[in-house]
Structure formats: C-alpha cells, structure tokens
C-alpha cells in the first residue's frame, strides 16, 4: 500500500519578482526549494509509515510535476526518508493551470497502484492557490480533508483528522483512500540524514511523460488550462504613515481632515 506525497518545486523567496512585460515570475538567480508547506506533507508521510508499518506494509512515494530540474526536489524528499520518487515531466505539460495540473497528476497517480492517502501541502508558496490538492481529489472522485493539523487515527480504510478552522478545528472522519492537505501545525519536518542523502543521490527516479499516461492531449498544458491570467503585478509599495507627536496634535488633525477630504471620503 502506498502513501503518496505531491510536492512542488518553488523559488526560494517570499519576495517574488514579476516581469511586468510577460507577467511571469523572474526565476533567474533564485534558488529552487521544495514548497515549504509540502515539507510538512513529506514529514507526515514518513510518520504515518512509521506509525502503520507494524500492521500494514507501506511504501512512501513522492511525485511532482515540473521541469527536469524538479528532480532535485524529489531527491531532497528521498534524503528525508521517502522510499520512491516519480517525476511527471513533458513539454506538453508546460503552462498548466491548477485544473490541467490536477488532471495530469491524477492520471499519473492512477498508474502508481493502490494507495491509502495522497498528501499535499495546503498550498504552494508561489501560486498560493491551494487548488491542486482538492482538484486531484475531485478528478479521482475520492474524499478530501483540507488544512489538516493533526491525523488522530489512521487505519486501513479510515482516517480521522483535525481540520484547522479560523476559530478552532473540526474533527473529520473519512473513508480511505482520501486526499489530505496539511498545515504547518501538523509537525516539524526532519532534516535529512547522511545515509538518506547518500541513498537519494543514487536512487533511480521514475519518469512519466504524456505518452505514459492515459490523457487527452488537448487537456494538457496551456491548451488545457481554462484559467487565463490577464494581469500579474507587484503590489505598489505602501507609503509609510506619518506620526505626529502630542505637541503636534493640531497639525495632525488638520492633516487627517485634509487627506480624507482629498480622497473624497467626506
């Protein structure tokens, strides 16, 4: 039985810059990392295996869709203790939106054999959509529990998990297989070990292209993506506020009244 983790390689920066002419991310000079939320998913997969391995034989598997260089993200996951890695990569997948990505991933996952659960980070730090996990669940027509902060119970055919809500949390039980997306409260990801790194270096990574999966080609990549990005822009930098001291009270009040008048608020 497999526990599958879907990960994404993202630029290592919270200060993502955008090319204003092409509306695409500027990737030059930015190091690539595993999406930080996916690190929690990887850790949880390893912990679930440790928890379950006495009763069920578990193989953990990490899968990503991306360019060939995304292999380094897979090797990092292997160095932490994941058993196998799969790279879904093809020029035909380029430009996929969340729909086309979840469709492609779904078809790739269907080729991997039986699985108990598919784990995702709650969202990727570059696109921030939080849609691919739920999208895969919909395409596979299996249940999903999003924003999971704790897996209370997991057996061969059932899971009970806590879903983080704005105020408190829900306790949800679901049959398996299911899709789980996790939040950072769920665990603290481990560092790789030296033996893990050595193993990851030598490990063979399975590659899946559009020819290996049962897909309609017109539903792949940019052509298969119903989302059209009309415009991406860096938000304008916020002007710093003005601080008036106590003795400047009158000036301050004048400034406030003047400003809100100018903005036609009053």
């Amino acid at each position: 039985m497999k526990i599958i983790v879907c990960i994404k390689q993202v630029p290592n920066t919270t200060d993502v810059r955008i090319n204003p002419e092409t509306n695409t991310l500027i990737r030059e000079g930015v190091e690539s990392i595993i999406n930080p939320f996916d690190m929690y998913a990887i850790e949880e997969a390893i912990r679930l295996k440790e928890r379950l391995q006495e009763t069920v034989e578990i193989q953990t598997l990490v899968i990503t869709m991306g360019p060939p260089q995304a292999e380094s993200a897979l090797r990092e996951a292997l160095s932490m203790g994941i058993d196998e890695a799969v790279l879904v990569s093809d020029r035909a997948f380029a430009g996929s939106d969340t729909w086309a990505t979840s469709y492609t991933l779904t078809e790739a996952i269907k080729t991997l054999g039986d699985y108990l659960v598919i784990l995702f980070g709650k969202q990727a730090s570059d696109g921030d959509t939080a849609q691919v996990g739920p999208g895969v669940a919909a395409h596979l027509d299996i249940p999903q529990i999003t924003f999971v902060r704790k897996i209370e119970k997991m057996e061969k055919d059932c899971i009970v998990a806590e879903r983080l809500m704005e105020y408190g949390y829900d306790v949800i039980s679901s049959p398996l297989p299911a899709v789980i997306t996790v939040v950072k409260e769920i665990n603290e990801p481990r560092l790789p070990s030296l033996r893990g790194k050595m193993r990851a270096k030598k490990a063979e990574i399975k590659k899946i292209t559009s020819d290996d999966i049962n897909v309609e080609k017109k539903l792949l990549g940019l052509d298969g993506s119903p989302t059209i990005v009309k415009k991406i822009f860096s938000p304008p930098k916020k002007e710093p506020g003005r601080i008036f001291q106590e003795h400047e009270l009158e000036d301050g009040l004048d400034f406030i009244v003047k400003t809100i008048r100018e903005q036609n608020i009053i």
Binding site: P192, L194, R195, K201
Partner: protein, 387 residues
Amino acid sequence: MNYFLTEEQEMMIDLARQIAQEKIKPVREHYDETEEFPWPLIEDLAKSDLCGVYIPEEYGGLGDGVFNLVLVVEELCKVDGGIALALAASALGTFPILIAGTEEQKKKYLPSIASGKKLVAFGLTEADAGSDATAMKTTAIKEGDHYILNGTKCFITNAGEAEIYTVFANTNPSRGARGISCFILEKGMPGFDFGKKEKKMGIRASSTRELIFNNVKVPKENLIGKEGRGLIIAQGTLDASRPGVAAQGLGIAAGALEEAVAYARGRVQFGQPISSFQAIQHMMADMATEIEAARCLLYQTARTMDANPGKRTTKESAMAKLYCSEVAMRVTTDAVQIYGGYGYMREYPVEKMMRDAKITTLYEGTSQIQRNEIALSLIKESASKKK
C-alpha cells in the same frame, strides 16, 4: 581553496551546515546564557548520522576516520563551538575503545555511540594531574573478577550526560606511569557519581563536571588493553583527538571571520562602510590567510593519520592543534576588534566566539604542552638519524 573532498564528505559538510544554520544558530545564545545541556540538538545530530562519521562501518559508523570528524566539527563550530563539543568530546572518549578495545568491547559500545544514542566522556584529568597525567591518584585495585576504583577526576566534558566513560586509573601505583590502566565505566554503576558542574568562561552549553569513584566495582572485561598500558592508550587517544580540538578552533575562527566581514561591510563610519578602510581590510586579510593556513595543516594531518592507521602522529597532531587553536584566539580577538564596542556586547555573536575559542588553547594539552610534544619529536627524529 580546493581540498579535493569526496562527494560523501561534501554531503557531510552540507548536512552539518544545515543543522548549524537551521537548528543551532537560533538557540546558541540561549544555551550559552542558561548553560543547559543541549539535548534536543544532540538528538538532531544523532538522527543526522553525523555522530558516527569517524567510526568504521562494521560498528555502525559511516567512515574512515579522523578527517570526517574534523570536517563535521569545523562546520558545526562555525556557528557554535560549545554545542558541537558534545560530539567532539564523545569522539575523544571513544578513541581508547577504537584504538585498544577488544572486538567484544567494540561490538558492545561502538554501535550506540555511532548512532548518537549514547555520548561518551574521557576521564584522564585530575585536580593535581593536568599537564602531568602521571600524577593521577585514582586507583583501580584488582579483586577477583573486578577492579575497585577510587578517586576523583575533574574538568570532564560530557560528564553526567554521557552513558559511557573511558577512565584512567592506577592499577599499580608503585610503577608510576607504567601502572596506569584504562577502563570502560557506565553511568549508573554503584559508587560512580558526578561532582559539581563547573561555571565556565566559554563553551557553556557543554557539561564539565567531576567524576567521583567510591569503591566502584568494574568487571575485568572492561579493562581496555593490558594493565599498565593506560598511558600509551591515552597518548594515542590524544594524537587522534587533537585534530578534533583543532577543528573546533578552526571552525570558531572561520565563523568569526564571516561575521566580522559581514559586519564591516554594513557598519558605516565617516560616511563609508568600515570595510573600505585599509586598517580593517588588512586585519581581515590576515585573519583569512591564517585560517586557510590552519586548515591546510589540519586537513593534511587528518589525512595522514587516516592513511597510516596505527602509526604515531604525535608531532603533526600537536602542530595542527597548536596552530589552529592559536589562530582561533587571534582571529576571534580581531573579530571583536572589528566590531568595536558592539563586539564586546553579548547581543553580538563574536564575544562568545572569543570566549569559546580560548578553551582550544587549553584542553587536551595546553599550547605549551603541544610545543613540548613537537620539540620532543624533533629531538627524537634527529637522534634516530644515522650519522
């Protein structure tokens, strides 16, 4: 500088750097202030497999020797010289078993040391037996299948925290230095206790305590090597372990230089970064040159040792320890100088580096003892040359 490291060694360094940056750096000040023993970090190191890099594979380790230990200790010490000491001191305590232990002793103790589950401490020093180890008063008297140990060791790193202790005691006081023997003790043996925890200038995350033996009954299987061979084992151990202290000094120095250069680039005085002043530039240049020279000496020493197992390397080992520790003291002092008044404040990392560096010129033989060893080797080499 290209040191022609293997891919495996590069991985060790990467991993040590990641642990140092992600796990140790955020809490180094905490452990320095509180003097708590950093168990959570030791557990991180254990999980990383780095505790066994110098232990042979057949005993659960990863490698072939001192050079690996040097690389890991250096990298960890760039961020904190006190926390990594638990690992380096454990190696010091392990070397007697590696050098002179029986197959049974190796099989029994090394795997749990390699996996990081157990720490080790080395018990040689006594209050009146520092540089002169032969003056030790701890005795081990044979009674049937056991030795009965009595006495007190002091300044023992990892004491109280370690599970395994390699301890030196005199089995035949009438024979002086030739009466010293080496034993493996385990925490919890009746009569084996720990004394006060020392309050130190630096390396405050490490535990330094007394070992107190009050009629401790040690099975004769725990004797390492033969009776009376203890001092030779201790000397061999120090030959093997001094590169670890050198690596600690080198790492602290390299870490201090990195901090100092970054600070000098950002600190503006007289309208420009202080890194643009030649007075600062020359200090940085000297620091970097000395560090690189120290590294060359240390790496080559460690490689020589690994390539010639069983051969005494007292001179080279002492040279590496002497030079690296003296460089550590000079470089960290200059790093504080570059920081100016801020460098003296505990809020900034370099004052701690200077405090941590000092110990490397003192323990496992002071700088003066290293010079004695080097000079003695020179004289012996000269005397043994055919005229």
